[in-house]
């Protein structure tokens, strides 16, 4: 009973912009710091320390940027679907900012995954482009992103744009498993997924550990990215309220503080 009440309280607070802004102050710093640390470690580890594949040689290292980009691109789309669901059901307007932040990042990462896949494929399998299952799935994902992007561009009204893109991303997310399965049916000859969180990877630890670091780094980067955009949107929407006024005027000049997120802690 008490837990239920607590949860309910939490849920209501989540709708409060001020509370959201305050609680995410530390999160955004955490994600940003972790992303920097993990990505620097990951880049150096993957490029200079991880062993080369005995068959593919050093082109294998491209996997360390290709796989995280593809994973995050797909997760961001699903994230958009979840945000869309929350936005539609509970009429939470903040979720549209999450969609607006996930959309360009996810779109660019999908394109990046396709590009690095081609750059990896050329020296390894002798061709820039293979019409295999995962290439097709990723290309379809790109078009799912492009569709929402085009839709958003076409609707001038912010509220309707939010609802339309929430609906479309939700429908797309429901369809992703069907699309993935049918594409796998279409071509069962592609390489099996080299890394997943549920299965034990077949790679030796010295190869998949840097991959894990990279994947975590990419996800922290996305967390930082999306949260920063949401926080800015909260400030913009609430700019006429007192707490924003106090926060913005008491803060040091932005250009004088390199780490903006640490200085705006819980004012007002």
């Amino acid at each position: 009973m008490k837990l239920k009440q607590k949860l309910k309280e939490y849920w209501h607070k989540l709708g409060s912009p001020r509370w959201f802004y305050q609680i995410t102050t530390n999160w955004v710093t955490f994600f940003g710091g972790s992303a920097l640390l993990l990505l620097v470690t990951g880049f150096v580890w993957a490029l200079a320390f991880a062993p080369a594949d005995y068959q593919q040689g050093n082109s294998f290292r491209i996997m360390y940027v290709h796989v995280p980009a593809a994973m995050l691109a797909q997760s961001l789309y699903i994230g958009m679907g979840v945000a869309g669901f929350i936005g539609l059901v509970w009429r939470m307007k903040l979720t549209d900012v999450a969609i607006a932040a996930c959309l360009p990042l996810g779109m660019v990462l999908t394109a990046l995954a396709l590009f690095t896949g081609g750059v990896w494929g050329k020296p390894t399998w002798g061709s820039w482009w293979e019409w295999d299952g995962r290439t097709v799935s990723t290309l379809v994902l790109l078009f799912l992103y492009v569709g929402i992007y085009a839709l958003r561009e076409a609707i001038p009204d912010a509220d309707l744009r939010a609802r339309a893109s929430a609906l479309v991303s939700l429908v797309g997310t429901v369809n992703i498993p069907i699309i993935k399965y049918s594409v796998e049916w279409w071509n069962t000859l592609h390489q099996s997924a080299s890394f997943s969180l549920t299965e034990k990877p077949a790679m030796p630890a010295e190869m998949w550990l840097p991959l894990l670091v990279m994947v975590l780094g990419f996800y922290c980067f996305a967390g930082h990215h999306v949260l920063s955009r949401m926080r800015l949107e909260v400030l913009t929407r609430e700019s006429s309220s007192r707490w924003v006024a106090e926060l913005m005027l008491n803060k040091n000049a932005v250009d004088g503080t390199p780490q903006t997120s640490t200085t705006d802690h819980g004012k007002g």
Binding site: P104, L232, L235, M248, T260
Partner: protein, 63 residues
């Protein structure tokens, strides 16, 4: 360190161009995403601050 020399590191066993292009493009994407968001945040906060300042005409708030 997997490589014996820096030249070998750059060359990546004849796959250097591919590896560096892939890593370069990834870095470009991540850095541009970061800097675009940061400049958005800064200009956004700046315009909010101006809006607040222009609303409050009291001189003590103009510092």
């Amino acid at each position: 360190m997997y490589f014996d020399s820096f030249a070998e590191f750059l060359q990546m066993g004849n796959h250097g161009l591919y590896v560096w292009v892939a890593y370069g493009s990834t870095l470009l994407v991540l850095l541009s995403a970061f800097f675009i968001t940061r400049s958005m945040a800064r200009s956004g906060e700046e315009s909010i601050r101006w809006a607040i300042l222009s609303r409050q005409v009291e001189p003590k708030n103009e510092s």
